[in-house]
Amino acid sequence: MSFGPMDTVRIAVVGAGVMGLSTAVCISNMVPGCSITVISDKFTPETTSDVAAGMLIPPTYPDTPIQKQKQWFKDTFDHLFAIVNSAEAEDAGVIMVSGWQIFRSIPTEEVPYWADVVLGFRKMTKDELKKFPQHVFGHAFTTLKCEGPAYLPWLQKRVKGSRGLILTQRIEDLWELHPSFDIVVNCSGLGSRQLAGDSKIFPVRGQVLKVQAPWVKHFIRDSSGLTYIYPGVSNVTLGGTRQKGDWNLSPDAEISKEILSRCCALEPSLRGAYDLREKVGLRPSRPGVRLEKELLAQGSRRLPVVHHYGHGSGGIAMHWGTALEATRLVNECVQVLRTPAPKSKL
């Protein structure tokens, strides 16, 4: 297969959560001469990204160098910070919110790697800690919240604006995309267990309550990551759970009661919360994000794939940074396609 320099490279992005859509936008911005089609069986508001609270408080991936994670987080923060300071903020579902991350015991690492990426990071004062009698240490900072139900449609608009196509279809096998597409970007999250035969990816079930409590203006996060209160544009997310290997998408009423109780312990005014809605999302968890190229081969058929999935609880927090990196990998694939191959190899 030879590509002239003017030939359009046809790219399929599998998955329409935050990874698929943001990668599609990055590719359309940065890689010339491509056509992009986003293919997914689920779209907003039915993706995992729609359930996520979208707080920019990043996790730590054990298998990834800290510098790299910091770069991903910084790229994402900078991208969303530019949006939040523009008139588009409300359309894109990005807001600024201040609050506290609280610890029951003094952490070994008092200042996390991302402290200078968020705004105004400092340790909590004694007076601030009085609000949380069970906790002895805390961080105070201002960060961003990026809400799937607004952000994903905003990204979709940008994909269509760059003449990208959006297709509803369930892909059972990546080879289905051959030969209609030249490069596949795999952003299928947990779907990669099947689509990429990746046994390293597993769900970490998260149940949350989205409630009305508009008087809550600050986020509160217990450092364990199990209990959190995240005020958003039109509701407050109360969480949560981290149930490894649990694929169950139905909410559990007992768990909801328990989440509410843990959150009320941190913020008693939540007893007045109303209009409680239960949601469940399965975090696509992996020891590290899979960001790499793979050349699928079957007989004489070749299909370049860029994998971009496995962000666990850090999807929204890292999405733009990893999308930029995935785009660089896509660009490399495009360069290879456009480089005339020696005839003997064909």
Partner: protein
């Protein structure tokens, strides 16, 4: 029978009534407290206020006012952890004070929580400003709080009367032993006070639930409250920036609306998507110092005690509880002087 009449049903009147009833009901043989006002919530000046706890930047000429501000903050902060906080109109809120040049820290910097200067990246969000503060403070929404105070007072048997009081004498003649004068900007109608003036404000309330921080700008050349401010409340967000000394016009006007709208949209461009809920004007009861003192008035053969508690400018909610406590103290002195205390209150 001790008959107390509180004139005025804004935050000062109702909180003073509550403070007095809480402290002295149990130590008096009988205590009757009545509230007379020609305006009740939602028509009081308190209802127009955004409700952010924040004193003026410069130290007050009466140092007691600084103490009253602090007492109020600490009192409200102690209620933050209660499940009732939102019903009272009370919530924690953080935000920005913005300046065009470096200024000294305010005297209240250790009263609020987490006070610090703004970082460069934070200031980048506000291109018209080059210096500022970040801190966590409290919102006490006037309307909700007055409703809550009214409930607490009603539970205690305090009675409310819609009437326009024309003179202290009229109230004294009806048998009031002590009159608490919380008439705010209209105090001059009961007793001329050349130091008291209206500081007219106009505000726009919008629905902008994505805004979680207050943003208050300062322009020292123009003066306090004459520069745009955005204050999120428990449900709606207040936009303001008007302060007109001596203006008694209670109607909203278009030039002020435009000043507020343009100033606030410049500060926060997303406001263009905000739905306007309503617009109101009110008169801050401006005075060089709060008038919080006793006065004995002679009507015929009897003496009537008056406790004045008015002139709280643009910081009524900020200072109210400290003043209510002080007024209660003055009331206690009256009781002592008249040998009315059954049990000497230990904490006076």
């Amino acid at each position: 029978m001790m008959r107390v009449v509180v004139i005025g049903a804004g935050v000062i009147g109702l909180s003073t009534a509550l403070c007095i009833h809480e402290r002295y009901r149990s130590v008096l043989q009988s205590l009757e407290v009545m509230v007379y006002a020609d305006r009740f919530t939602p028509l009081t000046t308190t209802d127009v206020a955004a409700g952010l706890w924040q004193p003026y930047l410069s130290e007050p000429s009466n140092p007691q006012e600084a103490n009253w501000n602090q007492q109020t903050f600490n009192y409200l902060l102690s209620l933050i952890g209660s499940p009732n906080a939102a019903n009272m109109g009370l919530a924690l809120v953080s935000g920005y004070n913005l300046f065009r040049e470096a200024v000294p820290d305010p005297y209240w910097k250790d009263i609020v929580l987490g006070f610090r200067k703004l970082t460069v990246r934070e200031l980048d969000m506000f291109p018209d400003y080059s210096y500022g503060w970040f801190n966590t403070s409290l919102i006490l929404e006037g309307r909700k709080y007055l409703q809550w105070l009214t409930e607490r007072l009603t539970e205690r048997g305090v009675k409310f009367f819609l009437r326009k009081v024309e003179s202290f004498q009229e109230v004294a003649r009806e048998g009031a032993d002590v009159i608490i004068n919380c008439t705010g900007v209209w105090a001059g109608a009961l007793q001329p006070d050349p130091l008291l003036q209206p500081g007219r404000g106009q505000i726009i309330k919008v629905d902008a639930p994505w805004l979680k921080h207050f943003i208050i700008t300062h322009d020292p050349e123009r003066g306090i409250y004459k520069s745009p401010y955005i204050i999120p409340g428990l449900q709606a967000t207040t936009l303001g920036g008007i302060f007109q000394l001596g203006n008694w016009s209670e109607t909203n006007n278009i030039p002020d609306h435009n000043t507020i709208w343009e100033g606030c949209c410049r500060l926060e461009p997303t406001l263009k998507d905000a739905k306007i809920i309503g617009e109101w004007s009110g008169f801050r009861p401006v005075r060089p110092q709060v008038r919080l003192e006793r006065e004995q008035l002679c009507f015929g053969s009897s003496n009537t005690e008056v406790i004045h508690n008015y002139g709280h400018g643009g910081f009524g909610l900020t200072i109210h509880w400290g003043c209510a406590q002080e007024a209660a103290k003055l009331f206690g002195k009256i009781l002592e002087e008249r040998n009315l205390l059954r049990i000497p209150p230990s904490h006076l």
